[in-house]
């Protein structure tokens, strides 16, 4: 009988990794991967060539677009932050956790599509589309920060003072830094989300990006992208604690508001539009069931399958890309100058909203899964590469005889692999949310069916499909968390 310690055994992480790779390979034949445009390379070339002469000539009011983007993100994130804080205080109730998970599972763009039906292009659409999912995310993270903070002082004085004073004196000062660092990270995400909301009609950068890109005005596209990168890169110069109240005060005045909310619209949405058609027409129960099963099998199921296919392939590719690229910013492989180039490349990939990357590639290569896979893998791979690169720089590697590939495979990879898997599984649920959304751009994931339903003014079908997307997302999230616990992987709050 073989003694376990004398025969070589692969770790659980090895086995899990290969399971995921095999799943992705199995998905490949079913995924519609193709380039459908006539002359993709020429168009791609023309696109990159335009980088050499960016111009803003054809855009009406670029400064306004930028201000709108900033204003929406400030107000949306602020709304989410405050609501999230109060939710965090009651987060220990299970029902709140479930509600927040469902709210988080619906992407900002889907929220925007919903609110567009209710409020039209009124700014509240954008504010709620950002505020609601962000509030749910803040709730979860703030609750974790509060939970993991030091309690000694709090325990000591809680019996002889009220809750609010105790909280502000004994708990808040120690966890304040965590709040600030996470909130400022979220603000950067908010700028990206705000820009992307322009793709569905709100007056932010995304609106101009989509119009100029579809008209082939690539010089303008690059100008807008460069402005956007500059905006994000200079955040720490124009966002300071003292100025934030000022920004919040003037934002409502910047946001263009030339539309009014029609309350008849609002009531009609809730009482008629989202009521399933068979119920509205007083048809029989079997008719309702027929409507539902038809929706399920003809739209939801293919949408779910395509979303999952795309997610699994993207997950593995992102991981490979991250493992390949993280050395670019690691002290162990490159010097300061080389690392700064690596940083620059990763920052561009990270900061470009995945929706914009996908949009560009999908327009250049046609509506298939290939551009979506490439765009999402580049974006998420860059994020994970950055996190792992930073992690590897903090490691204490004593070995200094190994070089190059030997160093990489024998020393670095074994030391970072656990953390790498933790980050990858954390991104899994985000990747799934993004693949669902990309359906709006034409590929057959859940977003495609949702967008079609809205275009057909079948809001009842759209709501059911959005609910199904949310449930799928929550399932993937639970699976990811289960795997992380089983493999004993931990991510700290600061490195999301």
């Amino acid at each position: 009988m073989q003694n376990k310690s004398t025969s070589f055994q692969h770790s659980h992480r090895w086995k899990i990794s290969w399971i995921f790779i095999l799943i992705a390979l199995a998905c490949l034949p079913f995924a519609d991967l193709a380039i459908n445009t006539f002359d993709p390379l020429t168009e791609l070339g023309r696109f990159f060539f335009a980088l050499l002469n960016p111009s803003l000539i054809n855009i009406e009011n670029p400064l306004d677009a930028i201000l709108q983007t900033i204003a929406f993100s400030f107000l949306g994130v602020a709304l989410g932050c405050i609501a999230g804080f109060f939710l965090a205080l009651i987060y220990h109730w299970r029902i709140i956790q479930i509600i927040c998970a469902l709210l988080r599972a619906v992407h900002e763009l889907f929220w925007a599509l919903i609110f567009l039906q209710i409020f039209g292009l009124h700014p509240i659409t954008g504010l709620l589309a950002l505020g609601i999912p962000y509030a749910a995310t803040f709730a979860k993270i703030y609750a974790e920060i509060i939970e993991e903070g030091e309690r000694n002082a709090y325990e000591n004085i809680r019996d002889h003072s009220d809750f609010i004073s105790t909280f502000f004196y004994a708990r808040l000062p120690d966890i304040w830094n965590h709040f600030v660092s996470y909130t400022s990270y979220r603000f950067e995400c908010g700028l990206r989300s705000s820009a992307v909301l322009g793709f569905v009609g709100l007056p932010t950068l995304g609106y101009h990006l989509s119009t100029t890109f579809l008209e082939g005005q690539y010089s303008e596209v690059w100008a807008l992208l460069i402005l956007f990168y500059l905006l994000i890169a200079t955040i720490r110069f124009w966002v300071s604690a003292k100025l934030i109240p000022l920004y919040l005060l003037i934002s409502p005045f910047i946001i263009s508001n030339d539309s009014t909310i029609s309350f008849s619209n609002v009531t009609r949405f809730f009482t008629q539009d989202i009521v399933p058609a068979p119920l509205k027409n007083n048809e029989s129960f079997s008719s309702l069931w027929h409507w539902f099963s038809d929706l399920l099998f003809n739209e939801a199921l293919p949408g779910i399958l395509n979303t999952l296919l795309l997610t699994q392939i993207t997950l593995v590719l992102s991981g490979l890309f991250a493992l390949l690229c993280f050395p670019l910013i690691s002290k162990l492989f490159f010097n300061q100058f080389e690392r700064s180039i690596g940083h620059f490349f990763l920052v561009i990939m990270r900061s470009t909203p995945e929706y914009i990357l996908a949009f560009i590639l999908l327009t250049l290569w046609g509506p298939s899964m290939l551009p979506a896979v490439v765009a999402l893998s580049l974006h998420n791979g860059a994020i994970i590469a950055y996190l792992i690169g930073r992690y590897s720089n903090a490691l204490n590697i004593h070995q200094n005889t190994l070089r190059g590939l030997n160093l990489y495979f024998f020393e670095i990879i074994p030391n970072i692999y656990a953390q790498f898997l933790a980050f990858l599984f954390y991104r899994w649920e985000i990747i799934m949310r993004e693949t669902a959304i990309l359906g709006i751009l034409g590929i057959a994931t859940l977003g495609f069916y949702i967008d079609s339903a809205i275009a057909d003014i079948r809001l009842d079908k759209a709501m059911v499909l959005i609910a199904i997307t949310a449930l799928l997302n929550v399932t993937v999230d639970m699976l990811a968390r289960f795997l992380r616990t089983r493999l004993r992987l931990k991510t700290s709050i600061d490195c999301t």
């Binding site: 000694n152 002082a153 325990e155 000591n156 004085i157 019996d159 002889h160 003072s161 009220d162 609010i164 004073s165 105790t166 502000f168 004196y169 004994a170 000062p173 120690d174 304040w176 830094n177």
Partner: protein, 219 residues
């Protein structure tokens, strides 16, 4: 005020205290002595819980001080009496220290020779200074009963003496754990010796002598 009869306490299947029978009346100054791990902290926590169950106001000084490191000395000491002021007053004071609280806190800090550090962040103080801040907070709270877990462990000999004098004059009843047998004999009227979670000595100080008590620390 506290009556315990054959109480045992265990944490995760490890017995911390066994068969504790203890009767404490108000107005006593009681010292717990015994080497580390003998159950002093557990007994103090138990007594604190009992007093809270009886809704009696009491002050606790923890072994690790339980201060808020990111706040300054003033705010930490002020926290001793948060319950005596309305919430809005507390929050206002947190944002900008108000004149009256600053005066009150200064009075106490002067007695502990810490007044020059009143607005310094606690994280930048030494261990002994932090311990005095914790003591100042207890003085601010000013309830009739004090429970303290090694309240002078980080103070030097001279400081230990006058801090003990200060505490004894301010609190009507005191229960605290100590390592220094001489201080225990000097300042307390009753001494309880613990060994491996059991009470092995329980007598008035005038009936005990130094040599007997030192046996508790011998292996």
């Amino acid at each position: 005020m506290i009556h315990l009869k054959s109480v045992s306490v265990a944490y995760q299947s490890k017995t911390a205290l066994s068969d504790i029978t203890l009767h404490i009346t108000p107005g006593q100054k009681l010292a717990l002595i015994g080497h580390s791990g003998s159950g002093k902290s557990s007994l103090l926590k138990l007594l604190y819980e009992k007093l809270q169950q009886q809704s009696k106001s009491c002050t606790f000084i923890a072994q690790d001080y339980a201060l808020v490191k990111h706040l300054c000395v003033f705010h930490n000491v002020y926290m001793g009496q948060l319950g005596r002021q309305p919430t809005w007053y507390n929050i206002l004071n947190l944002i900008k220290p108000l004149a009256k609280p600053v005066t009150d806190v200064s009075e106490i800090l002067k007695q502990l020779q810490l007044n020059d550090k009143i607005f310094e962040p606690v994280s930048q103080l030494s261990g002994g200074q932090q311990q005095r801040v914790a003591i100042a907070r207890a003085l601010m709270h000013a309830s009739p009963t004090l429970l303290a877990d090694e309240p002078i462990s980080s103070l030097d000999e001279v400081q230990s003496h006058w801090v003990m004098e200060l505490l004894c004059s301010r609190f009507e009843s005191m229960i605290f754990s100590l390592h220094d047998v001489d201080l225990a004999l000097k300042f307390c009227d009753r001494i309880i010796g613990l060994d491996q979670g059991k009470i092995v000595t329980d007598d008035f100080s005038k009936n005990l002598n130094r040599t007997e008590l030192l046996k508790l620390y011998a292996e």
